[in-house]
């Protein structure tokens, strides 16, 4: 019984079933929106919503079910491979195939067997004489093609799974002059400058973040990050992934003393205690204009006509909304609120994932395995006094055509020599 179960678990049949399950489960993840909250699924799919969340259809690729399927798949793949590998290794050493009904005898009367043997040798075949004739062989290594392919896949899956457990990632925003300390990793950096490279039509050519990196016991160094050119500090990669405008606001009293200074970056709200006043920066428009509905818009990212859309709220609710220029004060009771200026800030994603390296090694092995399986597959030609029979398990038809052409070529050479 146990043996039958193990046999099934390591069978090709079960492997194919798993392939199909993985494919179907993956499709679910592309059809159902991923990573939303419970309420979304309840609203969208009604009674099925809770069942879907229970089955983890809201996060298919990180679900326990998916992990379980993939692990069973790994077991199947390893089992399958271990079953065939000894046979493959033996075949690599000393296997001579026998001819089957698909194998064609290409011998014709004009052929000189010794001539043809040396012709095959020139084409990279190894000609070996045995008791009952000879055979030519090439690409014996191809016998292990499928095992190499499977090894690559197992390395990819395990590398990714283990790598994912130790991933460190996050997102930071920095305005020029700001410093970020990665004490845990022994480095700090300062954003020296961030700028966009704009085209004539106003679209973005590229984003550049210029940094100075301070690493323990090393000279400070300058680095530039742009999209497709991340910065690597000891395996931690920093990516140019976002940008925005950081706006500086001052709240002053009538005498001109600054009571509060705040930077608006991603959070549009600032609360001023003394007056229980909330300042909402609805938007900053470097190239201000209005659309047909009277809504503020920016025509480009060039600072040509800067303006701020500001909304004030107090304890009773909405107070008023304003469009103001840099430095232009908004008066509220006996204070003044003004936006001094805005600078571009950069948004950097960072990620450390050592799983990438085994995944890449696995990918190379996988690709090599596929090449071995379909191109460097074992090719044999059985030769006797009146037989030239190409034999291969992979591609008899194509290989036979190739050998036919080779023989024709040999015939031509012979004709020329005579």
């Amino acid at each position: 019984m146990l043996k039958r179960i193990t046999n099934f678990l390591t069978s090709l049949k079960f492997g194919i079933i798993l392939f199909i399950i993985i494919a179907v489960y993956s499709i679910i993840g592309t059809v159902i929106p991923q990573g939303m909250d419970l309420q979304f699924y309840l609203n969208q799919y009604h009674t099925f919503g809770s069942l879907m969340v229970f089955l983890q259809f809201d996060r298919v690729y990180s679900s326990v079910i998916y992990l379980a399927i993939v692990l069973v798949f790994v077991i199947n793949l390893v089992g399958c491979t271990l079953k065939i590998l000894p046979v493959q290794l033996k075949k690599m050493k000393d296997y001579i195939p026998t001819k089957g009904k698909n194998n064609e005898n290409l011998y014709e009367n004009w052929m000189d067997i010794e001539d043809i043997k040396s012709g095959f040798t020139k084409k990279g075949f190894k000609v070996i004489d045995t008791e009952d004739g000879s055979y030519a062989v090439k690409h014996r290594i191809g016998h292990v093609g499928s095992s190499v392919t499977h090894l690559g896949i197992v390395i990819i899956i395990l590398g990714a799974l283990i790598g994912n457990m130790f991933v460190k990632e996050g997102y930071i925003t920095l305005a020029p002059g700001e410093i970020y300390e990665f004490n845990e990793y022994g480095f700090t950096f300062k954003l020296d400058d961030f700028y966009l490279d704009l085209r004539e039509d106003g679209s973005v050519e590229q984003y550049y973040s210029e940094l100075t990196v301070y690493e323990d016991e090393k000279e400070p160094r300058s680095e530039t990050i742009w999209v497709n050119n991340p910065l690597n500090i000891n395996g931690m990669y920093f990516y140019q992934s976002n940008y925005g405008w950081a706006s500086k606001m001052q709240i002053t009293c009538a005498e001109g003393h600054v009571h509060q200074e705040s930077i608006f970056k991603e959070n549009p709200h600032v609360f001023y205690d003394k007056e229980s006043l909330t300042v909402l920066l609805y938007g900053y428009y470097p190239d201000f204009s209005m659309d047909i509905h009277g809504n503020p818009i920016t025509l480009s990212q060039n600072v040509r006509n800067p303006a701020y859309a500001v909304v004030l709220y107090n304890e009773e609710g909405y107070v008023n909304s304003y469009i103001v220029r840099p430095g232009q004060p908004i008066e509220y009771k006996d204070i003044e609120i003004k936006f001094v200026d805005s600078v571009l800030y950069t948004g950097l994603t960072y990620r450390q994932d050592f799983g990438y390296y085994p995944v890449m090694i696995g990918s190379i092995i996988l690709t090599l395995g596929i090449l071995l399986s379909f191109y460097f597959y074992p090719k044999y030609i059985l030769i006797s006094q009146d037989e030239i029979i190409p034999v291969t398990r992979q591609n008899v038809w194509g290989f036979t055509i190739k050998i036919k052409r080779m023989l024709k070529e040999l015939n031509k050479v012979r004709g020329n020599n005579q």
Partner: protein, 271 residues
């Protein structure tokens, strides 16, 4: 008249020649003389040359390979289909194969002709040397799967006639091996597409694999074709079931290429 004019003119001419070629193959199959088949093969070659010229003009115009929006993908995809078809045609000298491949080519060309042909500068995420190898291998891979699908349709429609002596179609065994070999090649190329995509994603998006719909669907396509290859090799699956699988695989390819863009937008949405 400028380069844009010549590019669009040669694109349209290539499109028309592809239609003529497909019709030529049909005339041959419907009882025409061998000449019709020959003319259709050379028409495909002529269309391919004009199409190549259109692509070269576009490269001159834009200063980069035509791999950056859906029109350019579709045009390159068509180019890949015809390229693989012509290689097979001239190497194995099959007759009437074109009748089942060229319609796919002109359908894809028709899809391309409906898309915006504007040349836009590359967005920052696409400015990478991985673009050409990633999309280039996709063009070859998808082209191969299209040709294999054409072969499979040919087989499914005609399998009873294929082995008759007077048949204009290649014999069933040749068909079977050829489609298998083409799928194996497409599979190798698809593997390269996915691996180069992962490397590029690591440098552009931070994650080498992010389960973006296009990534996921290319994995699904890869799984389907690997099922095909396993069954074909280990269980001697031949004939009808294998042919059906080749068609299903190509439906997946088309969905990955067109459907995902329309229905499942993600990181790969470049319009």
């Amino acid at each position: 008249m400028n380069i844009v004019f010549f590019e669009e003119a040669s694109f349209t001419i290539a499109f028309i020649i592809y239609i003529v070629a497909a019709l030529g193959f049909f005339v041959y199959l419907a009882g025409g003389k061998e000449k019709a088949d020959k003319i259709a093969v050379y028409a495909s070659l002529a269309g391919f040359i004009v199409h190549t010229a259109a692509m070269i003009l576009r490269v001159i115009e834009s200063g980069r390979l035509p791999f950056s929006n859906q029109f350019e993908f579709a045009s390159s995809f068509t180019w890949g289909i015809v390229l693989i078809f012509l290689i097979i045609q001239f190497y194995y000298k099959f007759s009437s194969l074109g009748a089942f491949v060229m319609p796919l080519a002109f359908l894809m060309m028709g899809y391309a002709s409906m898309l915006s042909k504007d040349i836009k500068p590359l967005m920052p995420a696409l400015q990478s040397r991985w673009l050409s190898i990633h999309v280039g291998s996709a063009v070859i891979s998808y082209g191969s799967f299209a040709v294999a699908c054409g072969l499979a349709i040919m087989y499914l429609l005609n399998r009873k006639n294929m082995d008759k002596a007077d048949s204009k179609l290649p014999d069933a065994e040749a068909y079977d091996y050829l489609s298998y070999r083409i799928i194996a090649f497409g599979f190798l190329m698809l593997t390269i597409v996915i691996v180069t995509g992962a490397i590029w994603a690591k440098y552009a998006w931070s994650r080498y694999w992010a389960w973006d719909p296009k990534e996921t669907w290319s994995l699904i396509t890869w799984l389907i074709y690997s099922v095909y290859l396993h069954l074909r090799f280990n269980r001697g699956w031949k004939g009808k079931p294998a042919a059906l699988f080749a068609v299903i695989g190509f439906v997946c390819v088309i969905f990955t290429f067109v459907g995902v863009n329309i229905l499942l937008p993600g990181l790969h949405s470049y319009n």
